[in-house]
Symmetry: C2
Subunit: 498 residues, 2 copies
C-alpha cells in the first residue's frame, strides 16, 4: 500500500504529464501542424483536457488532499505541494462543468467575432459576446468565492493572492511618477535619426545572431529549440522540453532579437525548475507575474542595458554592415527609444507600457463592479488613452479591440505584465546588491552570478513559497514599485538628458 502522500504524488504526476501533453499538442498546432488538421486537433485537445479535468476533480484526490493538508509529518516542500494542488482542485471542483463548457464555447465564438470586429474596426459587433463573456466570468468568480469581489477572484487566477486593494496604491504610485516623466520625454528635443532600425536584415542572419545570444544567456538547446511563430511564445512540456519561438521582420531586426531575449527569460525559468520534483505542482513557476518578471528582467533590465551590449554589440556589428560605424551609445538609444504616441500595447516601450496596463485594469475593474457598461467601453478607453498618453486612437482596431485576451474570456490577466516589470526591477537590484560584479560580468558576456542568483531565488524555489514570501526572501521586501521607478527615472533622465 502506498502512503497517502505517495498516492497523491502519483496522481499529481499523471496530471502534470497530461498538462505536458497539452503543451506539445499546442506547440505543434502553432508551429508545424498542417492547416487541415485544425478540427481534429480541437478534438484531441478536448479529449485530453476533459480527462485531466475528470482526474483533477476525482473524489479520491480531494480526499487525499483533505487528509494531508494538516498533516504535521509533511516537510515544508510536501506541505507546499499539498497547498498548490489543493488550490487547483478547489477551483476545478467549485466551477460546474456546464459553466466550463459555456465559457469554452463562448470563447471560441468570442474569438471569431473579435477577429471580424477588429477587421471592421467596429467594437459594437463584439459588444454582445463580450457581455456574455463578462457575465460568465462573474458566474465563475461567484462559484469559486462568493464572498469576494468577482474581479479579485479573477486576478487570483493568474496572480495568486493579488487583489484590487493591493494593486490600487501600486498603480497610483506608478502614474504619479510615470506621467510627468513621460511628459518630459515627449518634450525632449534631442532625438537622433533612427532610420537604421528599419535597415534590411535577412531572417537567416537574424536567426544566427539571436541563437548565438540566446545560447550565451544560458539557454540549453539540448532541452529546447528555437522556431518561427506568428505569435511568439515560450512553450513545450516541462523543464526538459522548453521551446522558444520568434518571428522575423526583415525591416525591423531588433524585434526578433528583443523577442528572443524575452522568451529566453521565460525559458530560463522553466529550464531552471527543480528537476527532481518536475512532475509535482510545487516545482511550477510561481505565477504569471513572476514568470513575466523573468522575461522582462532579461529583456529590459539586462537586455536594454549598456553592460549586456558591451559584450554582444560587436556580434551585431559583424552581422549587419549598417551598424559598423554606429557607436554603442546610439545603438542603445535605439534599443530604449520611447514613443508616447504609440497606441499598441505589445509594441510599447517600458516607460509607457504600464499605462497601457493600468488603463485596461481600470476598465476591467469597472466592468466587473458594474460601474461601466460594455457598450461604453470605447469611450472609456479613448478617454483614458488621451488622459495617460495624450493620444486618441483613430479607430477601435488600434484602440479597445487591439488585444486578444477579452475575446477568450481572460479578465484580470493584464496586471501581470506590469507586476512582472516591477518584480524584474526588484529582483535585478537585489541581485546586484548581493553581487555587485554582475554588470561588469555581463559586459564580458558572463551571465554568472546573475543566472545563479535567479536559479537559487526564483527558478528552483518554484511554488515552494507563496509570492510574497518568495519576493521577500529574494529581495527583503514584498511588492514595491520603487525599484522600478528608480530604474526608469535614472535611465530615461540620462538617455534623454532631462
Amino acid at each position: 500500500m502506498p502512503t497517502p502522500y505517495t498516492e497523491l504524488s502519483q496522481r499529481l504526476a499523471d496530471l502534470t504529464a497530461l498538462e505536458e501533453v497539452v503543451g506539445i499538442l499546442s506547440w505543434d498546432q502553432e508551429i508545424v501542424m498542417p492547416s487541415g488538421a485544425a478540427e481534429a486537433r480541437g478534438r484531441q485537445l478536448a479529449t485530453v483536457q476533459v480527462i485531466a479535468h475528470e482526474r483533477l476533480t476525482h473524489p479520491r484526490l480531494a480526499a487525499l488532499l483533505d487528509g494531508l493538508q494538516h498533516d504535521a509529518a509533511l516537510d515544508a516542500t510536501q506541505a507546499a505541494n499539498v497547498r498548490e494542488a489543493q488550490r487547483d482542485v478547489r477551483k476545478a471542483t467549485r466551477v460546474p462543468s456546464a459553466l466550463v463548457r459555456a465559457q469554452g464555447e463562448t470563447a471560441v465564438r468570442g474569438h471569431e467575432v473579435w477577429v471580424g470586429a477588429r477587421k471592421n474596426k467596429n467594437f459594437q459587433e463584439f459588444a454582445p459576446v463580450l457581455g456574455e463573456l463578462v457575465e460568465l466570468a462573474k458566474q465563475r468568480a461567484a462559484a469559486i468565492a462568493p464572498d469576494m469581489p468577482a474581479y479579485d477572484v479573477l486576478l487570483d487566477d493568474y496572480e495568486p493572492g493579488m487583489t484590487m486593494a493591493r494593486l490600487d496604491p501600486v498603480f497610483a504610485r506608478l502614474k504619479e511618477v510615470l506621467l510627468p516623466l513621460i511628459a518630459q520625454v515627449r518634450a525632449a528635443q534631442n532625438v537622433p535619426d533612427m532610420a537604421w532600425l528599419g535597415q534590411h536584415a535577412s531572417a537567416e542572419t537574424q536567426r544566427q545572431v539571436g541563437e548565438n545570444i540566446v545560447r550565451a544567456m544560458g539557454y540549453d538547446f539540448t532541452r529546447g529549440r528555437l522556431d518561427t511563430a506568428v505569435h511568439p511564445f515560450c512553450g513545450g512540456a516541462g523543464p526538459t522540453d522548453v521551446r522558444i519561438t520568434t518571428r522575423y521582420n526583415e525591416h525591423a531586426f531588433l524585434g526578433s532579437l528583443t523577442g528572443m531575449i524575452h522568451e529566453t527569460g521565460h525559458a530560463l525559468y522553466e529550464q531552471g525548475r527543480d528537476l527532481v520534483l518536475a512532475d509535482q505542482p510545487v516545482s511550477r513557476p510561481r505565477s504569471m507575474g513572476i514568470h513575466e518578471s523573468q522575461s522582462l528582467l532579461w529583456e529590459k533590465q539586462v537586455g536594454q542595458g549598456a553592460a549586456f551590449w558591451q559584450a554582444h554589440y560587436p556580434k551585431l556589428q559583424q552581422a549587419y554592415s549598417f551598424l559598423r560605424e554606429k557607436p554603442l551609445g546610439e545603438f542603445l538609444f535605439g534599443v530604449n527609444y520611447v514613443n508616447p504616441r504609440n497606441f499598441i500595447r505589445v509594441s510599447a516601450d517600458e516607460l509607457t507600457y504600464p499605462l497601457h496596463v493600468i488603463l485596461r485594469y481600470e476598465i476591467e475593474r469597472e466592468l466587473f463592479s458594474g460601474r461601466l457598461a460594455v457598450h461604453d467601453l470605447p469611450a472609456a478607453w479613448n478617454e483614458r488613452m488621451q488622459g495617460y498618453l495624450g493620444i486618441t486612437p483613430p479607430d477601435d482596431a488600434v484602440g479597445v479591440l487591439q488585444d486578444v485576451h477579452w475575446s477568450g474570456g481572460a479578465f484580470g490577466y493584464f496586471p501581470c505584465y506590469t507586476l512582472g516589470a516591477l518584480y524584474a526591477a526588484q529582483f535585478y537590484q537585489a541581485a546586484v546588491a548581493q553581487h555587485p560584479e554582475i554588470p561588469a560580468n555581463l559586459a564580458h558576456g558572463a551571465v554568472e552570478p546573475l543566472l545563479g542568483w535567479l536559479r537559487r531565488n526564483i527558478h528552483q524555489v518554484g511554488s515552494r513559497l507563496e509570492t510574497d514570501a518568495l519576493v521577500t526572501a529574494a529581495t527583503g521586501r514584498t511588492l514595491d514599485p520603487e525599484a522600478f521607478l528608480r530604474y526608469v527615472t535614472a535611465k530615461y533622465t540620462a538617455l534623454y538628458q532631462l
Copy 2:
C-alpha cells in the same frame, strides 16, 4: 439518453483521439524533440497509453459491445465497427496488465542490449533477453487464444486472419519461382556501369525533386508535411494530419526518392480514409499487409515502372546534370537493379526481398514451435541465407542482428512486408484490368484513374470488410502470389534479357 450505439461511438472516438495524441507525441519525439526531453516523453506517452488501456478495458465498453454484436438493427458499417472494436477490446482485456508491463520493460531493455550486441557483432549478448521476449510473447499468445498455435496469434496481431497454414504454401510457391529466377539474374553478364547512382546530389535538391513528385502523386500538403528522419516513417494523427519523412544521402540520390514515394503510398492510404468516420475503428486501414501494399504499389508497381518515369524522369534530368545524357532505359535499369549478394533486408531489391522475409518467417516459426533454440539462431540464419541467396554474412551485425523488430518483442511482423508486395501486384493488375488507360495516364503524369480506384477499393473501405473480403471485392480473388510472380518474371526477364 444516447442509444447504445451512440454511446459506443463516443467512447471509440475518445480512444481514437488518444491514439492520435500518441501519434503526435511519437512524431515529435522522432523529428523535433530536444534530446534532453526523452525521459519526460516516456512518462507522457506512458500516461496516455495507460489511460487509453483503462478505457479500452472498461467494463462499460465491453458491455456495450456485447449488447450490440448481434444487433440486427445495425447497418453493415456499424456492424463492422462493432466487430473491429470487439477485436481490440478482447485482446486488451485478455492480456493481464502485469504481462503488458513486463513486455514493455523487457522491450526497452531488449532494445538497449540489441544496440550494444549489434555494435559488438555478437549475437550471444542479445540471446538471453531475446529468450525472455520470446517467452513473454508466448505468454501473451496463450492469454489471447490458448487453443491456437502461439505464432498464429502473433501473426494475427498485424494481419488479422493470417495463419501459418495459409502462409506456408504461398511462401513455398514464391521460393519455387524466385530461387531459379534469382540464379538466372546472378548469372547475367550484361550489367552496365552504375557509378552514376553515387553521384553527388545536394539534400536540398533531393527535397525539391521529391516534394514535386510526392505532390504529383496526389499527396495533400494541407493535411500533411514532409520532414527529415533518421528512420523514415509515415506518422501523424488521423486522415487530416498525415506526415511523411525521408532521409538524404548526398551520394545516393535515389534512396530519398524511392523512400518518399514509399511513404507517400502509406500516406495516400491514410489521407484517403473515410473522413466522416475518421474517429471510428471501421475507418482504419485494414492491416499492416494492406498498408504495405499501398506503399509498395507506388514504390514498385508504379515507381519502378517505365510509365511513371516517362512523366517524371525529365524533372530529374533537369535537377541532376549527371543524368542529362543518360537514356531513360539506363536509368530504369538502375532503379530496378537486383543485387543478390546483399545481406541487408531494408536495402534489398524486390526480387530478393521476399527471401529475406521467408528466412525470418521460417526462423520465427521454429522459435515459437520450440524446434529452434535462441542460441542456435545465428547458425540457422546463416544456413538459410546461404541456401536462398548463396551468401553467408561475415558477422552477426549484418546477419541475425540486423533488424530492430525482435529487440522490441515484435514477432510475426515480417510476413506483412511480403504480403504487401503480393497484394500490391494483385491490386495494380486488377486496377489496370479495369482501367487499361492507367499506364498511359501515368506516362503523362496523371495518377487517375489509378488513385480513384485505390480510393474506392482500399482507402475508403478501411476496415468495413475483413481482409479476404476486401481483396476479393477489389481483385476477384483472395491472396494469390501469381500476380506478383507474373510481374517479376516478366519484368526481370526483360531487364536482364534472360
